[in-house]
Symmetry: C3
Subunit: 165 residues, 3 copies
């Protein structure tokens, strides 16, 4: 399992797609984004448009562990992305620690070449509002949890990977 971390527009998704498609099709793409406004709908369409034939797309804004468990053994998998999934749970006021733990269990036992995208959001100024601080902390803890179980961790900078692990 490879974790791809990076900031906004750092080329995480495109690089993860390149890595996954080194393996033979079909590939599974699990999207966690919810199109709750036009801006987000546009971003989702952009990501979908870039993917070539051979991709099967599953939507899993909340039950990501379940979606991953449904993927056949040996199938190349791209999860995009953990941070939106976490944000969906936080907004729904779910127990994010329990959800993160369950997800880590599933991702920690990969059954094929799995590529997982997540955002690094903790390198700016401390946010003013308490919800943003809680989100930032939860995202950082989740990234640490998944990174500890990954065989490779990449930090993306301007479309280029730096190997962290």
């Amino acid at each position: 399992m490879t974790l791809l971390l990076g900031g906004a527009r750092s080329g995480k998704s495109a690089h993860a797609e390149q890595l996954a498609t080194v393996f033979p099709a079909p590939w599974t793409y699990i999207a966690t984004a919810q199109a709750y406004d036009d801006e987000m709908a546009e971003r989702i369409a952009l990501h979908r448009g870039r993917r070539v034939e051979g991709w099967e797309t599953l939507d899993a804004p909340l039950d990501l562990a379940g979606a991953i468990e449904s993927v056949p053994d040996g199938r190349p998998l791209l999860v995009d992305c953990l941070t939106l999934w976490l944000s969906n749970h936080l907004l729904a006021e779910h127990d994010v620690e329990r959800e993160s733990e369950r997800l880590a269990q599933v991702l920690g036992k990969p059954r094929g070449p799995w590529f997982v995208v997540a955002n690094e959001v903790g390198l700016g100024i401390v946010p003013d509002n308490a919800l943003a601080r809680r989100f930032r902390d939860a995202a950082g803890r989740l990234n640490q949890k998944i990174a500890a179980r990954a065989t490779h961790v990449l930090f993306m900078v301007a479309g280029l990977p730096m190997q962290v692990k």
Copy 2:
């Protein structure tokens, strides 16, 4: 062409100056900053004050590609910085994709040792306002475009370079 990426006060400009002045003078410095307030005027003065004799300074808040084209063959060049230039175009409501593409064309054909500074701004929390999000996206895309054409990419951390490419 070397791209130096980093956060605020990460030592990008000072390191770029060190790299450029390894080559014999004269050196050309293209500044993209506009002194629209006192704080910015102070920063510009600070940067200018640090540069020793031997530097020729051009101001190019908008026509950066044109300024770069005017630089003689073989001349060491420092562009500081892409992110302010992008911000100037965004505020002027210009077509930043077209401008970025033109700039990438010019930077992709270096005619000497060229050093280009840009900010990484996508590693914090998603900004509240839509303009900041658009800026963040455009800056990330521009960094990717230039990084793809660079021979070397450095990520600056506390004044120290990490080699990305």
Copy 3:
């Protein structure tokens, strides 16, 4: 002296504790946090709870240089963290350049295995308010100053160290 830089929840403190406790106890922990609200009190309690026996804790929200000078020769030391210390001085309207310079002098002459934690806060969007920008600039300058005197600099990503120096 080793400087550990990273974002929020990047695992800086935990990794620094691991590095310090490779050396024999007792270890000195200098905390710069002030529990001015419940959220901060909780974070401090969490950090204290993680540390095992063998740690002696000093509180130094302002006189960090003095606290470090009081540590016996050869004693493993963890300073956590520079960025909160800087923020305490900024809020108290002290001369942060002078304080930073004094601190750099003391940290530049380590008398044992010293580990220093600091936040990288400059990789997000430029903050709206002037105080946050001043803080961000001062934090970046301080990080550069200490990094220049460190023998090792680590950039923490999701709990994993990247060696910068």
